[in-house]
Amino acid sequence: MKIEILGVGCPKCKQLTANAEAAVKELNIAAEISKITDIDEITEYGVMMTPALAVDGTVVSAGKVLSKDDIKKIISK
């Protein structure tokens, strides 16, 4: 599974990254978490509000900091 955090690096992006890492750890799944900080690359995903979360290339959330439990629900599907 590939999890991407889209955002230029503000505290909200960092919090979302931390929540995603915690979610992956608790679920004990193999997932690669990466950050996309380049605005041009972010907008190529159609994202206009950050932070955003993409799972396997599909944006599943934008403009909000999902909690660890929210992320667990999304990646457990």
């Binding site: 509000m49 599943v60 934008a62």
Partner: protein
């Protein structure tokens, strides 16, 4: 504090004009741009919603309120947004007195229609700002 060029600011209003090919479609587009220019809302791409671009849809979900501006009664903008489940405050230029095929798109019609949609808040913005974008 937000990072430079951060896109994480709170999203209040999003405006989606139909931006259709007719005169009233063009007027809807110009209204959307006027409202966005004055900072009252952010203008968004209706095509991205129609194309079901996940990033666009998820970004729109972050808005507190979504406004659609349609040029004619076909109401493409409103229907496109509702199709993906958004609750929309919808405006139709026909209801505001602008007829398809009979509307001149000029500063007067843009100002008049924008004023009707914003309840005169554009004028307030103009009055408050000296040399601001809305006075151009």
């Amino acid at each position: 504090m937000a990072a430079k060029n951060c896109m994480c600011q709170e999203t209040g209003l999003l405006v989606f004009p139909c931006s259709g090919s007719s005169d009233v479609g063009e007027l809807s587009d110009r209204i959307g741009r006027t409202i966005a220019k004055c900072g009252q809302a952010k203008m968004f791409c209706l095509a991205g919603i129609g194309a079901h671009i996940p990033g666009m849809i998820e970004s729109a979900k972050a808005a507190k309120k979504i406004i659609s501006i349609d040029g004619c009664p076909v109401s493409c903008a409103k229907k496109t947004l509702e199709h993906v489940g958004f609750k929309v405050e919808a405006y139709n230029l026909k209801d505001l007195g602008f007829e398809k095929g009979k509307t001149k798109v000029d500063e007067d019609s843009i100002k008049s229609a924008t004023s009707k949609i914003t309840g005169g808040k554009i004028e307030e913005t103009i009055t408050r700002s000296s040399g601001g974008c809305c006075t151009n």
